[in-house]
């Protein structure tokens, strides 16, 4: 047991616990928000686990999640557009908290890794993660003016 795994345990327990509660109950809009947050919070957890097990190979998992997580949310945004159109969910507080967790974790890991290609890979993951989740969140809340839904 080391500090990294402890931090990962906390992030995963809080992240998975709250998003499971959010995705299993309540109106449809809140559920999609929770699904988006689950990828946004699990990805930093996976990065911390990779550092905790001192295996750089595990970073690929976080890379794939950062790429495909927002894609999954966009699938729901696209195919549930009719149901979500009436009252689009607004959840900027949790979204920014998740983005903050992602940023902090990536920054700390970059500081530990030191300059090099591994650090750039971490930065790529961080950019994909935060950018993708903020965009998915904005698409979800209907924050793009002048868009006609099909």
């Amino acid at each position: 047991m080391n500090g990294w795994i402890l931090a990962a345990t906390v992030v995963l327990a809080v992240g998975l616990g709250t998003t499971l509660w959010g995705v299993a109950t309540g109106p449809l809009g809140r559920r999609v928000v929770a699904q988006n947050l689950s990828t946004a919070l699990v990805c930093p957890g996976l990065l911390l686990l990779s550092q905790g097990y001192s295996r750089t190979a595990y970073v690929d998992l976080a890379l794939l999640l950062a790429l495909l997580g927002p894609v999954g949310t966009l699938v729901f945004v696209r195919l549930l557009a009719d149901e979500l159109g009436d009252n689009p969910p607004q959840a900027w507080g949790p979204t920014w908290v998740a983005a903050g967790v992602g940023t902090v974790v990536v920054a700390v890991l970059c500081a530990v890794t030191g300059p090099g290609r591994a650090m750039v890979k971490l930065l790529v993951i961080g950019a994909l993660l935060v950018g993708g989740n903020l965009l998915a969140s904005r698409a979800l809340s209907g924050g793009f003016p002048g868009v006609s839904r099909d």
Partner: protein, 119 residues
């Protein structure tokens, strides 16, 4: 704690399987039933990987560690689980295709209504 930990993953696998089977038996919508079958399949992944785990072990992948420097977990069950996930995904796709076909031919995806139609 340790005594519980020795069986907890197996019990979780059994629980997930039973919950999926319950959902499958009581489902009123074929698409929901396909989702429940996916839950049942995830129980098999949990069971297989739990059997192969070794305390303090790491993944049997030697791209970033020297072979023999750390104990590794069982790769055979991991390969089996990989096959399991592929087969699970294709089964889901095939069953969803069947469901779409049933909806087209009979106009419903409720198994009880389908039984009445046939009888």
């Amino acid at each position: 704690m340790t005594a519980v930990m020795h069986v907890l993953p197996y019990l979780v696998a059994a629980y997930v399987f039973l919950v999926g089977a319950y959902g499958l038996a009581t489902s009123r919508n074929l698409i929901h039933a396909v989702g429940c079958l996916a839950v049942c399949q995830s129980a098999t992944y949990v069971l297989l990987l739990a059997v192969g785990y070794r305390d303090g072990g790491t993944a049997p992948v030697f791209s970033d560690i020297r072979p023999g420097s750390r104990p590794v977990v069982d790769p055979v069950v991991q390969a089996l689980t990989l096959t399991d996930i592929v087969v699970g995904a294709t089964v889901t796709a095939l069953l969803l295709a069947l469901t779409v076909q049933i909806a087209k031919r009979h106009g419903t995806v409720d198994p009880d209504e389908l039984r009445e139609l046939r009888g």
